[in-house]
Symmetry: C2
Subunit: 456 residues, 2 copies
Amino acid sequence: MSDSIKYVLDESRLPRFWYNICADLPQALPPVLHPGTHKPVGPDDLAPLFPMALIAQEVSAEREIEIPGPVRDVYRQWRPTPLYRARRLEAALQTPARIYYKYEGVSPAGSHKPNTAVAQAFYNKEAGVKKLVTETGAGQWGSSLAFAGALFGIEVQVFMVRVSYDQKPYRRALMETYGARCIASPSTETRSGRAILERNPKHTGSLGIAISEAVEVAAQRDDTKYALGSVLNHVLLHQTVIGQEAIAQLEMAGDFPDVIVGCTGGGSNFAGIVLPFLGAQLRGGRKMRIVAVEPAACPSLTRGRYAYDFGDTAHLTPLTKMHTLGSTFTPPGFHAGGLRYHGMAPLVSHLKTLGLIEAVAYPQVAVFDAGVQFARAEGIVPAPEANHAVKGAIDEAIRCREDGVARTILFNLCGHGHFDMQAYIDYFAGRLTDHSYSEEELAMALAGLPAVAEPA
Amino acid sequence: MSDSIKYVLDESRLPRFWYNICADLPQALPPVLHPGTHKPVGPDDLAPLFPMALIAQEVSAEREIEIPGPVRDVYRQWRPTPLYRARRLEAALQTPARIYYKYEGVSPAGSHKPNTAVAQAFYNKEAGVKKLVTETGAGQWGSSLAFAGALFGIEVQVFMVRVSYDQKPYRRALMETYGARCIASPSTETRSGRAILERNPKHTGSLGIAISEAVEVAAQRDDTKYALGSVLNHVLLHQTVIGQEAIAQLEMAGDFPDVIVGCTGGGSNFAGIVLPFLGAQLRGGRKMRIVAVEPAACPSLTRGRYAYDFGDTAHLTPLTKMHTLGSTFTPPGFHAGGLRYHGMAPLVSHLKTLGLIEAVAYPQVAVFDAGVQFARAEGIVPAPEANHAVKGAIDEAIRCREDGVARTILFNLCGHGHFDMQAYIDYFAGRLTDHSYSEEELAMALAGLPAVAEPA
């Protein structure tokens, strides 16, 4: 095994394909249903929102989908991203574990999100689209789409969840620096936004509401489309460059993960690192444990129901089968804004149901304890979302110490926290609180799930 | 010439030595003088503030000084840093110029400052020092020393210029995340701070005042030393890894700079990229133009006097010959806090006097115009300080377009602006103002220069 701390792939090893796990799944994904008819949707149903190239990727069964040259040219600016061995953290934890982390914070927008933002901007540009509308939670996704829009000359409009809009003015400033327009959601610019504000003028927003607003604006014009930063198959697909690189980098290190850890909100960074490893396992390769870490204040995978539900609050989106807390569920304003989504990617939900991955939920304060410990050892300050993965990896490493076993732990450090320092300010000031739910509270939002006769 | 956009050196090409230009200068630097006797200082005079290893580097005439293994081990986390070809910016400017930038923002603290912070923390740790005290302007330096202190187990205390302390709460939070203590300067914790506050309780501070406070605290205890983030020879020395790497990377690109641009506050990032190129020129190599860019609101190189002056406001430091605006000069609270220093590195001042470098000063708003144009083309949002270098490079590129000449421009993008987004918020809101001085205003602070009979 090597004694390096950093594993860098040559530019020539930038992946040429996105990996589509649908080709290797033991059981196909349940179909996506039309919100009105409850029948499986066809490509034409999605055409008002997405260009055909992305719709084709959404339903593709091909194992490898070629990454277009212009997308690779942009990726090249920061990819392949480094894989680090966290030697100083290992020493601080006095663990025999070998901890590796893939660091996606080196992208211009500071997270894994540009991997799909650049691809989506490219395909929309090819299709003649002039404007992209989207939602954002913490702002990682909105700023990534703003970045990609600037490169490809597409106008970008972002509905940002109100609580994050107020908490994270720097993230908003980043979007504006890239030339995007950023609006607090719920807003008065859409029917769905106005409906929410009429009931509660001080509504702090949710990803589900912001999605409704973005979808509503996008559906109004032919030259305007919608872009989603997680959840959908094609988004998860674009993130698989992460895991493909990590496989090659761990080979350089002469190592292989016993356990892979990622944080999950919509599921895209988790899928990005996990799917290429899991695909190899499904094709007969070595087995590993895979752990999804989510916030206890938004526990879709650990406490949600696996059922058909809407992706948004106003019920404008198709129905997908996923782990959900109910589309009207509004999580409290905790700092990991990117993990405040009521549902989970259908693909990640499916893997959970097939028993291929585990899930665990952590409260906020313990997650920041872990993030600060990581920052002091490794120098990188993680995003609040990424702190969930850090906490998961540290807990695995502590278990190794207790068991006296030197397992290999890999986690995805999906972004830095430079635009989220208010969260750290609140943490040090003792202003962060933990939030949990009784069974009754969770049951309330689930009672609103649509009645769907599942296809055979 | 290659058509890449990114030039990455293998870890094996991380520099093994810092380059000391004093070995190649046509004329030696004027000596440093004792603040009381006005006689040249000896190593013992500096011993209360710095460990002997750093004092030896401060006065060394050796061309190459070996980088200790533990320092290189830390550098390895983010070095060699990438060199980028700014192809999208070139296209936006419609210039025949080839623009390259060395990107130091990939370090954990987000700037070039860890190059010397890590070295200084290492030598202090070796000397048994328990605590380091320093000043910081924008916070790039304070957060870098906080990072280095966390790695080597040294306590860090930072006096942060009041205006930046208030403008940049995220930078302060970063220092605290690394475990450092951050105090607004002028403070009530020192004699020099209290003296300033008595005269003006609302004083917004200056680097000169913060240095006085840090030096005062450091001189009180044997196990506590002072650390400076720029200006001194040993600090500039540590930054020469930047230029050494850039030389190798431009060789990979099959190119050589006709002009090198850097921003100057104390002078360390500028020296870091410039000195290795300039040393090669002095040893008979190819000539190039070298341009230092400073803010018009703090124009030490373009409008200051080349004279002996104190490094701080309370006159606790030795006297060095440098371009200075006078140690009582307090620049307005503009956003490039790292460039708000009344003096300039003696070494950079010396190069200017020898006619080896040029200098230009830009007003703040034009500098942010350039930074936003750069961000929209290249995706990276520069620090306000770095925007000065961006503006300098863009102006050179526009001149190439006007002259119809394809010159090669290299600039140092010394840090990202993630913690400085308030500056961009103010820029977009039209709240940034330009500040300039009449000759009379500048003469006032210069009238207080110490009367020094210069050594022959």
